[in-house]
């Protein structure tokens, strides 16, 4: 990554850009992990301080995102005592696949109507709140994968590096986490359409 290289060369513009970019990324990741703004602010500062102090330990500038997030993840763990953590549990796939319902003698999947979601601002903002809560309520091992892969948009390889797990574990957990939150949104949409048709 160019930014990390410029930083190594002593480019002050790169320093400010790096702080700007990573401070918001780490803040958001920590907020979703710890649940408190003050903790998230602290984690992002502590992480950046550690990053600059130890920057020479970064062997390959291309690994900078994974390296920074790894430090952030550990800083979040230290805040754990104060945070609102969901119980440690495995998610079972079967729990998150759509229910089958019988209609006219055949089984069919029960899925809400999602077609209006992309164009409906009000529905989107409602769903965003539900989504945020759903992510926070995920068991930690799933939440961390979903946050890094889908929210922060890191690669499978980076996520595996940060969390010290295999690529396959990242993929499996991501899939289950997505199904779990999809279902929360689906339930909300089903409820919403029921109350509309009442």
């Amino acid at each position: 990554m160019l930014l990390a290289e410029a930083l190594m060369r002593g480019d002050l513009g790169a320093f400010d850009e790096f702080v700007e970019v990573f401070r918001s990324k780490i803040f958001h990741y920590s907020l979703m992990t710890c649940g408190h703004r003050e903790d998230a602010e602290e984690v992002s500062q502590d992480t950046l301080l550690k990053v600059f102090e130890n920057f020479r330990q970064l062997q390959d500038p291309r690994n900078v995102r994974a390296w920074v997030f790894r430090i952030a993840k550990n800083a979040c763990l230290l805040k754990r005592r104060k945070s609102v953590f969901a119980p440690k549990a495995e998610l079972s796939l079967e729990d998150f696949l759509p229910q089958l319902e019988e209609s006219q003698g055949t089984l069919r999947m029960q899925i809400a109507d999602w077609s209006m979601v992309p164009d409906n601002q009000f529905l989107q903002s409602q769903l965003k709140e539900i989504l945020t809560t759903a992510i926070r309520e995920l068991p930690e091992i799933y939440r961390s994968v979903l946050l890094l892969r889908d929210v922060e948009e890191l690669s499978t390889e980076e996520t595996a590096q940060i969390l010290d797990v295999s690529l396959d574990v990242v993929k499996t957990r991501l899939h289950r986490a997505r199904l779990a939150i999809r279902q929360k949104l689906d339930r909300h949409l089903l409820e919403a359409s029921k109350s509309l048709s009442r």
Partner: protein, 93 residues
């Protein structure tokens, strides 16, 4: 009537929303199934929307503006690292 103009059968995207890699034969088989199965298409569409919404929330919450004292602390740590001093030299507390 079933719609065939949906993009959901694009195998790359479908794979991405599944979160794992499929064998080419599996992709063909699934693509073929999806053509004739509206509920499965709807399901994959809803999974795609979910993933897209996750991407969107990545930028919603922002930290408070960086205060000058913290900026200075970070800059000192950065400059100390650049000049090759020990990391602890940058710490004030």
């Amino acid at each position: 009537m079933e719609s065939r103009d949906t993009q959901s059968t694009d195998s790359g995207e479908t794979e991405q929303s599944l979160g794992f890699t499929l064998e080419p034969e599996e992709i063909d088989e699934i693509a073929e199934h999806l053509q004739g199965c509206p509920p499965c298409l709807e399901f994959i569409e809803s999974l795609k929307t979910t993933v897209q919404m996750c991407k969107d929330i990545g930028t919603t919450e922002r930290p408070a503006p960086l205060d000058p004292a913290t900026h200075q602390r970070l800059l000192s740590a950065y400059q100390a690292m650049r000049s090759g001093k020990s990391p602890t030299a940058a710490k004030q507390d």
